[in-house]
Amino acid sequence: MSHKQEPIKGTQGDVTTADNAKSWFYTDVVKDHFFNPRNFMHADAHEEDFNAIGKVGSPACGDELRVWMKVDPETERITEFRWKTFGCGSAIASTSMASEMVTENGGMTLDEARALKPQDIMERLGGLPQRKFHCSVLCDKALRDAINDYYRRTEQFDKIIVEASRIIDPVSKVTDKDIEEAVLEGAHTLELVQQKTKVGIGNPGCLPAVEEIIRFYKEKYFG
């Protein structure tokens, strides 16, 4: 690929410590969370003590994340957030950081938690290498999955937001999720998304819809 990637807000190139004595891929905050992860699910904890569970990814894609939440039914604030991940340094650090963010200061409401963006997590981490951005997205998705689970269990079905994928280009079978992934990987123009997904190559009629989706996700993640 010859295109130059635009920098993503909250990401950095390969991070080097200030004294330059030892180059490291991650910032000190990332390292702190990586070496001392907060709030992970202990072996002796019981799943039934939690009232919402979320899961995203699979080890086959290199990342799997599960989260367990306690939501106060009165205030709908998150009082506890536990997690387990099969993931790299940035996956561990992002999830650990997110677990602090959603529970600090009395806990976020579910609406506040839903508004949390991957970039917010990255900013608190002092940045992640650009190609590790998807790790913080993963954590954001697991949180959303758990929020939906809470609403399902409390039968507030109108509050569930289903993010099912739908086919945008019936010819190439490219879905809106595929386009979202491409945008997350740095493809911010129609041409770049087409290079990654082949969307619309045999079916130019869908291109206006594709462009709209690219705009939406650019705004969502990088706006």
């Binding site: 991650y26 990586f34 070496f35 992860p37 992970f40 699910m41 202990h42 072996a43 080890p59 086959a60 894609c61 290199g62 990342d63 799997e64 994340l65 599960r66 997690w83 387990k84 991940t85 099969f86 993931g87 790299c88 340094g89 940035s90 996956a91 561990i92 190609r131 590790k132």
Partner: protein
């Protein structure tokens, strides 16, 4: 001071002090261009000729069969692209394996996708080996090149290159296909294996300075007399115009010295490291549950240990080890720019999560028993910690 244990010799080796010594004059007073007609150039030309002759002697080749390049990647590219392009009128079928280094694989893929060649990719067995039979079965009248690595850089498995070369030679004679040639990437092998090109029956062989305690940015291609290549770059007549450009003289001198040292000590060093390797593998497997040795247990380089530790991800492991002063590498996707896990581990028929959890420890000249004892001490608690935060439990069929 914290102990530092470098176990990534398959990635690169430090420069041997004796090699550095040999190189220094050429970074100083012996600055001449070997192509110059005056004495400043002539002195250097004589030294380059001596180095080339010394390397040829070690490989059991002739001096004019040694081409100096910028490294393993260039040598592989020159052999494959150069030979295929020059000889395509004789056939457009190439054979390689799915576990080659990217320098071979990407060149093959390029020829396949862009230049109309057909490539057969042989798959290894579950132990990471390719057999002579496998190669023989796919040879065709229009096959012009077979490229198979001598030893794999990730899992250390050693391919039966001499037997393959022998078979190919016979096939070539029987079928009257003189244009069928055999190339091997031997970058991982100089410290441990026989590099006699006659015994190996190879037509082309790639070596790299930076994997044998020699200089980085320095490689060579053994090219049997009579074989024609199309050059990748154009310019002067250096390296028989197959690889023009003013010689990297310091690199050439260092390469010759490092190859000499590596081959002189290889039998002794192989015995020493194989013993350490086997004890280390045993040590890991007796201290940590659910592990899998990737690659054949004995048909592997004496310095290679590649183990998948189930339920955890390699990058996290490498970073935890780094904090303890242990430097290793992983086949996990997370450390590669492409975010793809190791193609070699996947080629063994193992699922992604096993590739993601693979760790390679490659031993070397400085490695001692104490170093490995230290790793065995720090590794198990790190694994335990990462397992405690992992939700994955890999199916046991993959690690028994």
């Amino acid at each position: 001071m914290k102990r530092e244990v470098y176990l990534d010799h398959a990635a690169t080796t430090p420069l041997h002090p004796a090699v550095r010594e040999v190189m220094l004059p050429y970074l100083g007073e012996k600055f001449g261009n070997p192509s110059s007609f005056h004495s400043i150039g002539k002195i250097v030309k004589d030294d380059v000729d001596t180095a080339r002759a010394r390397i040829a002697e070690i490989l059991h080749a002739r001096p004019d069969e040694i081409l100096f390049t910028s490294g393993g990647t260039e040598s592989d590219n020159l052999a494959i692209l150069g030979y295929a392009r020059k000889n395509q009128q004789e056939g457009k079928h190439l054979i390689t394996t799915t576990i080659e280094h990217h320098a071979v694989l990407e060149a093959m893929i390029h020829l396949e996708k862009k230049e109309g060649f057909e490539v057969t990719y042989l798959e290894p067995d579950r132990e990471g080996l390719i057999s002579v039979d496998q190669v023989e079965k796919v040879l065709r009248e229009d096959t012009i090149l077979v490229s198979i690595m001598y030893a794999n850089n990730e899992i250390g498995t050693i391919m039966p290159i001499a037997d393959m070369g022998n078979m190919i030679q016979k096939w070539r004679d029987e079928h009257k296909r003189p244009f069928l040639k055999f190339h091997t990437d031997a970058c991982q092998t100089p410290e441990y294996l026989d590099l006699d090109v006659e015994k190996l029956h190879v037509d082309m062989l790639t070596l790299n300075g930076s994997k044998m305690y020699g200089p980085k940015g320095m490689g060579l291609l053994y090219l049997k007399r009579g074989i024609k290549l199309q050059p990748l770059q154009f310019g002067g007549s250096q390296e028989r115009a197959l690889r023009p450009g003013t010689e990297h003289v310091a690199g050439i001198m260092g390469m010759a010295k490092s190859l000499e040292l590596a081959q002189a000590n290889r039998e002794e060093e192989s015995v020493r490291l194989a013993k350490l390797r086997d004890a280390f593998i045993e040590g890991i497997q007796s201290r940590i549950s659910k592990t899998r040795l990737n690659g054949h247990p004995t048909k592997r380089l004496p310095n290679n240990v590649n183990i998948s530790i189930m339920d955890i991800e390699g990058e996290a492991m490498i970073l935890y080890l780094d904090a303890e002063g242990v430097y290793a590498s992983t086949g996990s996707a997370c450390t590669s720019a492409s975010l793809d896990p190791s193609h070699v581990i996947l080629a063994l028929g193992l699922p992604y999560e096993v590739a993601h959890g693979s760790i390679r420890f490659s031993l070397g000249a400085s490695t001692t028993e104490e170093d490995l004892a230290y790793v065995l001490e720090v590794l198990p608690p790190l694994v335990e910690k990462l397992r405690s935060i992992s939700p994955v439990r890999v199916d046991e069929k993959y690690f028994v």
